[in-house]
């Protein structure tokens, strides 16, 4: 009897664990500066002038499938639904990958020459543009662009917000995290309103860590991982101001 109770408790516990993850696949996420993106059975990568498509249906044995010519200034890659979002120093390119082995460019939203990682969440793309010595030497702008990508063929800029020197960024639900250069790590509340098909977004600063001059961030399951030069810092973003967790040197 005791054993049966134990077993059923164990079973409930196991089911409980399974229920927490949104799908059967394991959790896997890169930062906004990534040039590698996995989508289904394909690994997409960009470098300099090419996008590469690799078959990873058998994860242990990747196969080179295709090379696609892309503009020379591409920098970051983000997969979202049927599309690949490519950040480049001249703008945001959107590729359609309905045919996974042959992504095709469907649109571009041009901006001033800057470095620009991109992340997408709930049909909204967040792009940070920054200038520094290694990137266009002060010629560009420092700002956050918020773009409606509900129709990827016609991305529309909702608004641009001035920043200090924004680099990596992450979005989880209504939280937007931005590495804003020497102005620190910033956390914004995303407020979204939808009137007659016109999406409006506003953001409000709700936390900042001024001592952190970070390169990239990953936000998942209330844990924020921050790549911060000499070390990795971690925060819990269940409540604000965020509580610091263990760091890695």
């Amino acid at each position: 009897m005791k054993n049966k109770i134990l077993l059923s408790m164990l079973a409930t516990f196991l089911v409980g664990c399974g229920g927490e993850s949104s799908s059967s696949t394991s959790f896997s996420q890169g930062g906004s500066m990534a040039r590698f993106a996995i989508s289904g059975n394909y690994l997409y990568t960009i470098n300099k002038r090419e996008m590469n498509v690799l078959d990873i249906a058998d994860a242990s044995t990747p196969k080179n499938l295709n090379k696609i010519h892309v503009p020379f200034d591409v920098e970051t890659l983000f997969a979202y639904e049927d599309n690949l979002y490519v950040g480049s120093s001249s703008g945001l390119y959107i590729y359609d990958k309905t045919t996974p082995t042959q992504p095709t460019r469907i649109s571009m939203l041009r901006h001033v020459q800057s470095c620009d990682p991109v992340v997408v969440s709930e049909d909204i793309a967040y792009v940070t543009l920054h200038t520094n010595s290694s990137c266009w030497q002060g010629a560009g702008d420092n700002r956050l662009e918020i773009i409606d990508v509900k129709i990827p063929e016609t991305p529309t800029l909702i608004k641009a917000i001035d920043m200090w020197e924004p680099k990596g960024l992450a979005v989880d639900g209504e939280n937007l995290f931005i590495c804003d250069g020497s102005n620190g790590l910033k956390v914004y509340q995303i407020n979204k309103s939808d009137n007659n098909d016109t999406v409006n977004i506003s953001i409000d600063l709700k936390d900042s860590k001024s001592e952190i001059d970070c390169y990239d961030v990953i936000a998942n399951n209330k844990i924020l991982v921050v790549s911060n030069g000499k070390d990795i810092r971690q925060f819990n973003y269940l409540t604000f101001p965020m509580e610091e967790l263990g760091n890695i040197k």
Binding site: S26, F27, N52, S60, T61, V225, N236, I248
Partner: protein, 165 residues
């Protein structure tokens, strides 16, 4: 062709030539220190799975289940067990020349090494295993890790090593 178009064209050409003037070919120590490894020699050197070491310059990051990966550009990847986020445990440093990026699927970690893709199994962080190398997944970029701008080089000799990073 009318005169206006020719005039416009010549202005554009002049602008292009003056831009080219900014790239001055050098013959200084930076260039003369450049050496080559043949692609065979480079692949024979392989990768090393080493003990955990301190992070010098944290670059790209990646989260896979409870494992945290941190790249040091062109050098390799720190592997950290982040099961307890309050006390993360560094487990290994995977030394990979020419590494810039990573991704993980079903316990298989993909890492670039210049033009090749390296596959490792990270299911057990105590025993990270090299599975294979996929040759020529990417086009080799001679500007990736050494200062080669302005130097003359011949890529049929192989991969550029040495000189200034």
């Amino acid at each position: 062709m009318n005169f206006k178009i020719i005039r416009k064209l010549s202005i554009v050409l002049l602008a292009l030539f003056s831009l080219q003037g900014c790239v001055d070919y050098r013959d200084d120590p930076v260039c003369s220190e450049l050496n080559y490894l043949t692609f065979e020699e480079f692949r024979a050197k392989g990768i090393d799975i080493l003990e955990a070491r301190e992070i010098n310059q944290a670059g790209k990051i990646y989260v896979y289940e409870n494992t945290l990966l941190v790249i040091e550009k062109n050098q390799g990847v720190h592997v950290i067990d982040n099961t307890n986020t309050k006390d993360p445990q560094p487990k290994a440093f995977i030394k990979i020349d020419g590494n810039i990026d990573m991704a993980v699927k079903d316990d298989y970690l993909y890492l670039d090494s210049y033009m090749d893709l390296i596959v490792l199994n990270i299911k057990n962080l105590e025993h990270i295993k090299e599975i294979r190398r996929v040759n020529n997944s990417f086009t080799y970029d001679p500007y990736q890790s050494y200062r080669t701008d302005g130097c003359e080089f011949n890529l049929t000799n192989g991969l550029i090593v040495g000189g200034e990073k």
